[in-house]
Amino acid sequence: MTTSATVAPGAIKDPGDIPDTPDMSRMYRESGARLRAAMADHGVDALVLLNNGSVVYATGASWPLLDAGLSHVERPVAIVLADDEHPHLFLPFREGAAAAADIPADHLHPPLYLEFDEGVQHFARVLTDLVPAGAKLAIDELTGAMRRSADPRFAGAVDAAPIVGAAKLVKTIDQIAAIRKACRITEEAVVDVQKALAPGVRQIDLSAQFVRRAFELGATTNMLEAIWQVMPESRAAGTWTTHGDLALPLLTTERELSAGDVLWTDVSITYRGYCSDFGRTWLVGDSPTSRQQDQFSQWRHILDEVLKVTKAGATSGDLARAATAANSGHKPWLPHFYLGHGIGTNAAEMPMIGTDLGEEFDDKFVFPAGMVLVLEPVVWEDGTGGYRSEEIVVITDDGYVPLTDYPYTPYGD
């Protein structure tokens, strides 16, 4: 842990200003303060949080996340009160799951089972004990048992997602450090994977090697089924989609890679609850042709043009327009995705740039300093396999500071 003097996220000038490892206690204090400020802005007295990413944010607890099919049953739950600096955490014991170091013992409770009537009856009593009558409540999920209970506190609650989202938008310096640490673990693990790339290697071999290395290097959770998508010869030859553009991400299989395959990769892990996001385009057993090199150059041009307008005060709309202008008027991202997205305790957070939320939404979304953004433009020309990579940046007062530190081999440095 570092205790060195630190700069405000908006004043970061280069990656060296970011601590190597996060100070988890300071992160806990600062994100708690941000969350309570967001509650005050929304006039909410108590938050009930069920979603993993929100609980991580509110409590500093981190644990190896469960599969979606298990995680809604054995789920940590947090209750955050506007006038209490410590959240209450209801933590299931799942094997060796990590605890939350900074929460006082009288705020740590046995697990809640909100999928069951009996569990919700107990929870109703817990709420009565902790939350004053008449308090304005926000909740991020209503389980079936909560809905069946007909407890007016659940039915009358507002959605907690916008409140948590407002707090999460600006990262503390330690959250930025945690994201970068997750990125460093990911990048170090990926180096070996890329070295292993050769004709005859199966997609799942890459996944196997990546996950082992990531855990050896300190990953808390493997967040995403690793993607090593072999790109088609042309849009028309690719998988059918609802919009006629490319499919992404297609699932990993035992398929053996062949010389000349162009791979679009995407992996994500967490470090102490904070996500990495890695994406590069790779070429199997070959060097890029000049047309393929042009794809990369075009991608690099788009990224540079986007980064020129990236700074605090810019809007999502500014970045989308810069990207489109740099790509001869065509949006350089897939219709079902985005030019970029935020990242934190979830692999994709607000803002999402260039989605069906619409241009007006994008134009109104002003970047604050300290926001962390993943940019992932896509370039495609039939016959080349296209180019896609992901770059993570911190938004600062003057511009941005990159968190991603990985070469573009074999397309560039």
């Binding site: 599969d67 389980t143 907690a160 196997a208 050896e216 959770t221 059918w240 989605t355």
Partner: protein
């Protein structure tokens, strides 16, 4: 896993849909709007991108009972069964109103009287009535749980495959056990073996941990490094072809206190005898809690059992849900992941997890990973 992304086999899909549609009828649901990955897979038979952790509710799969039509949120058709044609696929969206418009366009939504969802957010509670103007919105989970509780023969076959991969990965991690190795390294070996075995989708990622000699369940030491004399717990969980397979074992390492460790494993074995005997048709899930009492062992920090299937299935057997567990009657075709846990101060813990099928006349233990000492 193959070299192509394939939907679940037709016979498996059809048997599941039949069960789920019957439950829609029994629960008087005209439409189900499902967001949970396991429910979506149960109806659709389509593999989805795996992402760890909870996800907020959204309308990922919509089923209309009168027509039997399944509408699925997927931008592409890879892995989508041919009985869900292109016109019933709708692409990934970020604006909830885009999804509401999709729901409005589905035959049967405008006239539905009762619509079940498998969870809800306060925001979708406000928006869904726009798509279902005449409907009462109700909890659809009981219908899905009732359908999923009993496994079909096809499901059991897939589940056995998942257990096989979990067991192989556990064996690979145990083979690396030695003083000086870390919990993280052992977990890495386990997850690597799962992925190389065709399953890059772990159900659990707490792969290995050193049991504490000082505290019944806390972690032994913060650096996670294994020392001679430790009892090291291994828990493997995979999501293979949609189904969760889990198995757990504990192995001693290095110079152990032989008699004390032997005594602890004997206690574990005695507990397992009681646990397995408690699983039979007509028994109560709560009998598993009683089995700990009967063996003279305190209940562990984690649930004693939970259902296995496409993710979690009822019951969850824990003292926090004692009345629920006492009311839950075991039936043939249910599969439980059962946890045995005994601890001794100065020695550590012996943790074990078995997948157990309730059969017509008792129980079949589906897991067979080697154990230190006797096998359950």
């Amino acid at each position: 896993m193959a070299t192509e992304v394939l939907p679940d086999e037709r016979a498996l899909r059809n048997a599941r849909r039949e069960r789920a549609l019957a439950q829609m009828e029994a629960h008087d649901l005209d439409v189900l709007v499902l967001g949970r990955q396991a429910n979506v897979r149960y109806f659709s038979g389509a593999p989805q991108l795996w992402v760890a952790g909870t996800r907020p509710f959204g309308p990922i799969c919509t089923v209309v009972r009168s027509t039997g039509e399944i509408h699925l949120n997927s931008t592409w058709d890879e892995g989508i069964p041919d009985d869900i044609p292109h016109e019933r696929l709708y692409g990934l969206a970020w604006n909830p109103m885009t999804l509401i418009e999709v729901l409005k366009g589905i035959d049967g939504t405008a006239t539905a009287n009762r619509v079940g969802t498998d969870a809800l957010t306060p925001s979708f509670a406000k928006l869904l009535p726009l798509a279902f103007p005449n409907a009462e919105l109700v909890d659809g989970e009981p219908a899905m749980r009732a359908a999923r509780r009993i496994k079909t023969a096809h499901e059991l076959a897939v589940l056995r495959g998942a257990l096989g991969i979990a067991q192989d990965s556990l064996a690979k991690a145990v083979a690396e056990l030695r003083p000086g190795v870390t919990e993280q390294e052992l977990t890495g070996v386990m997850l690597e073996a799962q992925a190389a075995g065709g399953v890059c989708t772990p159900a659990t990622q707490d792969g290995a941990w050193v049991t504490s000699r000082e505290h019944p369940w806390r972690r032994a030491r913060s650096d996670g490094r294994v020392e001679s004399g430790d009892l090291v717990a291994f828990a493997a969980g995979v999501l293979a072809d949609g189904y969760v397979g889990e198995v757990g074992r504990t192995w001693p390492v290095g110079d152990i206190d032989g008699p004390a460790v032997r005594t602890l494993y004997d206690r574990s074995q005695a507990l397992w005898d009681k646990l397995i005997a408690a699983i039979k048709p007509g028994a109560r899930a709560g009998d598993l809690l009683a089995a700990y009492d009967a063996a003279g062992e305190p209940l562990p920090a984690m649930p004693v059992a939970h259902g296995l299937g496409l993710g979690f299935d009822p019951p969850v057997v824990t003292p926090q849900l004692r009345a629920t567990a006492d009311a839950e009657v075991l039936e043939p075709g249910m599969v439980l992941a059962v946890t045995g846990y005994v601890w001794r101060e100065g020695t550590g813990a012996v943790f074990g997890r078995e997948a157990v099928l309730v059969t017509a006349d008792g129980a079949e233990v589906l897991t067979s990973s080697p154990s230190y000492g006797a096998t359950p």
